[in-house]
Subunit: 101 residues, 4 copies
């Protein structure tokens, strides 16, 4: 399963990079494959492993702010793994060329 | 904490109401306050109670389809409950009138 | 087409109801059918009418804050109108009873 | 302004890469900076330029399917450009090391 998530505190100023940095520490500690994208972090793993990372990040930022907006988007395909790279490769195959990634 | 979520199967036709109905059964069985909105279901409760409902819905629809896109948006305020009604009331107070809801 | 959107300013404190109230004024001025839901505002209309409302709301809040996160989710069905009520009715028919809405 | 968007047809099978490929053609024709991420496409530009690309992609996929779910998330900072690279750099500076991206 692939998940993209973001955790944004309200009332803590307009810069959020320090909170993203805290989340990346938690993501890296999980050992799951991930990519930091401009609008969110993508993690791959089974449902419970991925959602445990999301929970850890949400709780970490809740410990630093009194209101947090967390968004999570899951793409779950039965019996499919390695989606983090394969989805982009599949688009490149359709286009017959490389894209910016 | 307030959560809005939707669980959409791919490859199962363009109508999704039967899958939403399955999810509403799970939401109602949880006993948590909820609202069915046109674009998703809103549930209120503590983090683990809400995410247990989301997990149940995701797994139920995964049992009926081989690919599922689930989106979840959390709004968590420390020490605040009763948000499901209060957020709309707060907007109505600012406007000084009732809105469509 | 149905759209749910939210417009959240960063760096303006943790309460956002005054910004939602500004957006509801713009939505109501459009004359489009809408519902204020706990996690976003749902508007129905053709693509350009709906996105013009979203643009107006985004620009209004950008005029009040230096950073804004806007999320929009569109559900577009060819030749289908009246979705704002029909989606919930369709779920109630599947369940054979009324739900909380 | 930075936008991440995805355009998913319902009722067209569970693979969506051919639709993503159509969208990437439209994104590339716009000349705007972009990144194809595993869960969506990120585009940078001013509001109207970016939303014109999103409109083009939505309409293209609507021409191929009778129901389309499009999600768009905007991050707009007044007087700030070059966000597509800078957001990730800012997190790396906070962490003092490179991340997977």
């Amino acid at each position: 399963m692939l998940a993209e998530f973001s955790v944004v505190p309200l009332g803590k100023g307009e810069s959020v990079s320090q909170y993203v940095a805290e989340c990346i520490k938690i993501v890296e500690a999980s050992g799951l494959p991930y990519r930091l994208c401009p609008m969110g972090t993508v993690v791959e793993g089974d449902y419970d492993a991925v959602m445990s990372v999301v929970r850890g990040c949400h709780m970490r930022v809740m410990g630093m702010a009194s209101r947090v907006i967390t968004t999570v988007k899951l793409d779950d395909r039965r019996d499919v793994t390695g989606m983090i790279d394969r989805k982009i490769q599949s688009v490149e195959e359709k286009l017959g060329k490389e894209v910016k990634k």
